[in-house]
């Protein structure tokens, strides 16, 4: 054990001294994951466009204008039902919207309930349009932001006077004053203006008071009583419905890109160790180690231990980073077992390359060529679900695909260990075979 640890320690020390090795082991995979996460997600911090589904079940002029304003809003990306439903089809459209939320294609749906337009017409008499927002209850930030955006567009539709009653009142009083003092107006016209602006002033005064009550209510927690509200200046009520997406989809683009980046990182690390082993074979080091009182399997074991430790460290680093980016790690036991077995399998691949490639160049060239092909068909570069069917079939036999199945299973699919048993066994076998063949070859060379 002392010898194995000495071998592994030496490799770790060498890795720490090797800047490009460190880069490909730790920086490159993280860069990969961040880059593709941003490209595919478009939801990197800073570029916050919220995708929502809008179902207009009211189909009134008012609701149409509301949808139009949401469509124009730059913070939102709007999806509307493919076939605008008539009457009863509203239920189908709502179901369509719920499914989008469930599949995480959109953050939320906005359901404009029937009667929205009519309620707006009657808003001065207590009418209140109903808008339902269905969203994942855990997405608090998105919900809050969406509520703010919706409020803003509800009020925008009412115009300045309504949105800012004090300003409206000042304008109304000024207009009334002007009407009173005007020499040009006939007494009849003057009466009309005075009555109109006077009424408007009274109306706005109520609106102002209502607004203050609402504000106080918002600061304290008690609900304003119906009488205190008098005239409720909330023409649209926004209610929330919880839609809990199932655990079958990635919660964000980083949940997809990080397992892929991990696979690349694991591959790069395995290649790095294979190359270092070939370097030792070609320099005199191997001659000296092979002449030491030590069976050949320990040479492989030391290299494997160092490779394994590095991979596990890189995994921990990347997983904590993805967690920081909002990826909820789905299933810990799967992640731990899957990650361990993936690391072990790539240690096996490393061992095979390191004993069979004649030179470092051959190893890097051959290794990368094979791994690139495997990675592409295995889904480490392009997600398998966008591939043509025949390619998805091929990708099932790639160790990359098995590795992805294990890592994605732990990260976002929420698979149990039983569900990833097949790739686990395949990877475990690969690891054992790789190490076994490498040790057998070393014995044979003796």
């Amino acid at each position: 054990m002392h010898q194995i640890w000495a071998l592994a320690r030496k490799d770790l020390l060498l890795l720490c001294r090797d800047k490009s090795g460190l880069f490909f082991t730790f920086v490159f995979p993280i860069g990969f994951a961040l880059f593709f996460g941003m490209i595919f997600g478009g939801s990197g911090p800073g570029s916050a466009r919220i995708a929502i589904a809008v179902v207009d079940a009211d189909k009134s002029e008012q609701s149409g204008r509301f949808v139009q304003r949401l469509t124009d809003a730059e913070q939102l990306t709007i999806h509307t039902p493919p076939v605008p439903g008539e009457g009863g089809a509203g239920v189908e459209a709502l179901e369509w919207a719920r499914k989008l939320v469930l599949s995480r294609a959109v953050v939320a749906y906005v359901y404009i309930q029937p009667g929205f337009g009519k309620a707006q017409e009657e808003m001065f008499f207590g009418g209140q349009g109903q808008v339902q927002v269905g969203a994942d209850p855990s997405k608090k930030a998105e919900r809050g932001m969406l509520e703010g955006i919706l409020q803003q567009h509800v009020y925008a539709g009412l115009g300045d006077a309504m949105a800012k009653p004090e300003q409206g009142r000042r304008k109304a009083q000024k207009a009334m004053e002007m009407a009173r003092q005007s020499k040009d107006l006939s007494p009849a016209d003057r009466l009309v203006f005075e009555t109109f602006f006077g009424a408007l002033d009274v109306f706005l005064a109520r609106a102002e008071r209502a607004g203050q009550v609402e504000k106080k209510a918002a600061e304290g927690d008690e609900k304003p009583s119906a009488s205190a509200r008098g005239f409720a200046f909330a023409p649209v009520a926004i209610t929330f419905a919880d839609v809990q997406p199932s655990r079958t989809g990635p919660c964000n683009a980083f949940a997809v890109s990080f397992p892929q980046g991990l696979v690349w990182g694991v591959m790069g690390t395995a290649m790095g160790f294979a190359v270092s082993f070939i370097g030792e074979r070609r320099s005199g080091v191997f001659a000296r180690l092979a002449c030491a009182p030590m069976p050949p399997w320990r040479l492989i074991a030391g290299k494997a231990l160092a490779c394994m430790l590095t991979i596990v460290f890189a995994m921990c680093l990347m997983l904590s980073m993805s967690a920081a980016l909002g990826v909820r790690l789905g299933n810990w036991p799967t992640l731990v077992v899957g990650g361990g077995v993936v690391a072990f399998a790539f240690v096996g691949i490393m061992a095979i390359i390191s004993v069979f490639a004649p030179t470092e160049r051959a190893a890097t060239g051959l290794g990368w060529a094979v791994m690139m092909v495997l990675a592409f068909i295995g889904g480490a570069a392009v997600p398998t679900f966008v591939m043509p069917g025949w390619m998805q079939t091929i990708s099932n036999i790639s160790p990359m695909a098995w590795a992805l199945a294990c890592l994605e299973g732990g990260v976002w699919r929420g698979s149990t260990i039983g569900e990833i048993a097949k790739p686990l066994v395949a990877l475990g076998t690969l690891g054992v075979l790789g190490l076994g063949v490498a040790v057998a070859w070393l014995r044979h060379v003796r």
Binding site: H2, Q3, A6, L7, R9, K10, L13, L14, R17, D18, R282, S283, G284, V285, F286, A287, R288, L289, A290, C291, A292, P293, M294, R446
Partner: protein, 283 residues
């Protein structure tokens, strides 16, 4: 100590070692002398258990060198440097000492001892990539003696070093010999073998052509000495006389007139090689 009996080893169609036998005694500095490609490295690889011979047997201390018992007695300084360039000299030695199951204070002691032997104590904390060729060769030797082996194999330990560094390596060989260590020294430099080795095996094309002490080889295969002299009144003309007894030849030359200059060239291993193979070792 070391017995190689009728060893044969081929790489594909290349016959690297061809029926080679050697007996090396404890405590001697034994030279493997031959041109590049003669089979020296292959012979050492077999004697150290790195390669299995196709035919014949190898024994170190009576054991197969591939077994742990023999391995502890063997130290190897391979022809291609066995060092990690990115590690410091000390880290290299620490690592190889751990591989030889040395731990704790014993390891620190042995590493220090080896560093002192090769006079690299001052540079032990520098990375090997910054070392000169001679320093790397010395560290390569230090790593071979950490476990105090009974026999050290040095494969071309002076390859690519300047005369000064070469002298330092000669001194290391002398120190090891004085400690009772057996040294197997492979080289293609005739003068190194002549200077360092108690006995020398002259190897060519995988075969041993001759084994003897240097004096024995020179006496048997070195041929005659050459006397070169010039005398007064002969216009500086240099005469060459070959003779088995150069002193007698000199006396005779002096009798013929007053000597202006005289030089005796004794036989060298180069001439031994020439006699044995019909060609110069530098071909």
């Amino acid at each position: 100590m070391i017995r190689l009996e009728s060893i044969g080893k081929s790489f594909g169609r290349v016959r690297a070692v061809d029926g080679l036998s050697l007996h090396i005694n404890a405590g001697e500095v034994f030279g493997l002398l031959g041109p590049n490609g003669a089979g020296k490295t292959t012979t050492i690889s077999i004697a150290t258990g790195l390669l299995a011979p196709d035919e014949g047997t190898a024994r170190v201390h009576g054991h197969d060198p591939r077994l742990a018992g023999a391995r502890r007695a063997i130290g190897v300084a391979p022809q291609s440097l066995a060092l990690y360039d990115e590690l410091t000299g000390r880290e290299n030695l620490d690592f190889f000492a751990a591989i030889y199951n040395l731990h704790g204070s014993e390891r620190a002691e042995r590493v220090q001892e080896a560093l002192t032997l090769v006079t690299l104590v001052d540079r032990q904390h520098d990375r090997v990539q910054g070392y000169s060729g001679g320093m790397k060769r010395r560290l390569n030797l230090a790593a071979a003696v950490l476990h105090r082996p009974a026999v050290v194999f040095m494969d071309e330990p002076t390859a690519g070093v300047d005369p000064h560094a070469r002298h330092a390596i000669f001194e290391i060989v002398g120190t090891l010999k004085s400690r009772g260590c057996t040294v197997v020294y492979s080289t293609h430099y005739m003068e190194e073998a002549e200077r360092l080795c108690d006995r020398v095996a002259i190897i060519d094309a995988g075969k041993v052509l001759a084994i003897d002490t240097v004096a024995g080889l020179l006496g048997r295969y070195g041929g005659q000495s050459v006397l070169e002299f010039s005398r007064d009144g002969e216009g500086g003309r240099v005469e060459r006389v070959e003779s088995a007894d150069p002193i007698a030849a000199l006396t005779q030359a002096a009798a013929g007139g007053r000597l202006q200059s005289a030089r005796i060239h004794g036989p060298t291993l180069e001439s031994v090689f020439l006699t044995l193979t019909g060609r110069s070792p530098r071909d």
